[in-house]
Amino acid sequence: MKTIVAVLILVLFSISNSFGQDSTFIKINKWITDNNLSIRKSFDGSKFENKPAGISYQENHKSPNDFLNLDLAIKLSELELLKKTNSILIFYPKIEWHKSTDSTDLQNKLDGGINFEFMPFGLKSPDLGNGIPNPGLKISPWFQGSSSYKRNFIDDVFENKFVFQLSLASNYKGLPGYIFRDGNKKFRARYYPYLGVDYNRIPNMLTDNQVEEFSTYFVRFFAEVWILPQSLQLNLDVTYREIVKSKSNLREVVPIVSSSIYLYPGKQEALGIGYEYKHGYDPDSKFQLIQISSLKISWKI
């Protein structure tokens, strides 16, 4: 583990030396930006949309296994509807690749789908001058949905998942989405609550040649805190989930907590190194009970 930490740090700092120059990394970033693409850990309509893509070295506390994990998701260009209204409705296709070498839960999945975002109302702005249009609500709902068609290369099957969730946003002090700043006006924190439902269809999940079909509802809390502005970011992600419609023997209550910390050297937010701790029933690992520590090199555009 220590060797891996050292290697990750060396790789990161060797890369970071060229951040300010016309490096290949910057050229790749520019090409992706020019083509209106985004890269994240996942575009599953969840908190992962704020998390970077990356390669991680993981230690499973529930078994002697250490393994490598890859999470890469690309958001393609957006199709925007309701352009002449005071609402936002956007559809976008996404492609994702998730791979894990964990011998107790091997994964190699290619995922395609279409996601949407819907903001039905505007958001009122505090302290705007007189005479400037200020339509909308003080705290406004917004919706996200995602569809996923996954090719599971390990089990040689297709999996489906549909997610729909509601969140809230505001520009007013202390409310969801509000940007908390310190006395020096540095960005320090923000949070979002989520309420959602999803539908899953997963072959070979519990038993070979048997398909598990089930729905869940969940309540989620996501927060990001900048311990050091522009450098050191702490993410907290807590999900309480209940499986509400299932013919299988799945456990009914499947909560999970995930916290991570990322260091972004060189006053940039594209490339960083991170540590993540995850404990609970992981929907990405067939709702098995996991307790995993990860070291990550992350990439976010």
């Binding site: 957006e78 302290d127 400037i132 979002y192």
Partner: protein
């Protein structure tokens, strides 16, 4: 008129970012430090700027995809509104 639009667009950005108007600079990237507007906030900012633009030129619209570009900064934002306002 251009100066009024510039000032008003900056007022919207400052309010969404919880900053004072004088702390918002032309070169600040909407998505990055110190503004830190995420895609959700940029969606709502689009709705606000769309309403503002409609009050000047009802035939023009602003798209969320325009504000969400990675390198889109404050200056590009008010220049976009000025251009669409037809001034």
């Amino acid at each position: 008129m251009k100066e009024a639009i510039r000032a008003n667009v900056i007022a919207y950005i400052a309010s969404f970012a919880n900053l004072k108007i004088e702390d918002v600079m032309d070169e600040h990237i909407l998505k990055s430090y110190p503004l830190g507007l995420d895609d959700t906030k940029l969606g709502f900012l689009t709705i606000a700027l769309r309403a503002y633009l409609r009050s000047i030129n009802p035939d023009q619209i602003v798209l969320a995809s325009e504000l969400r570009k990675k390198d889109f900064d404050v200056k590009k934002t008010y220049e976009l509104i000025i251009k669409k306002a037809g001034i």
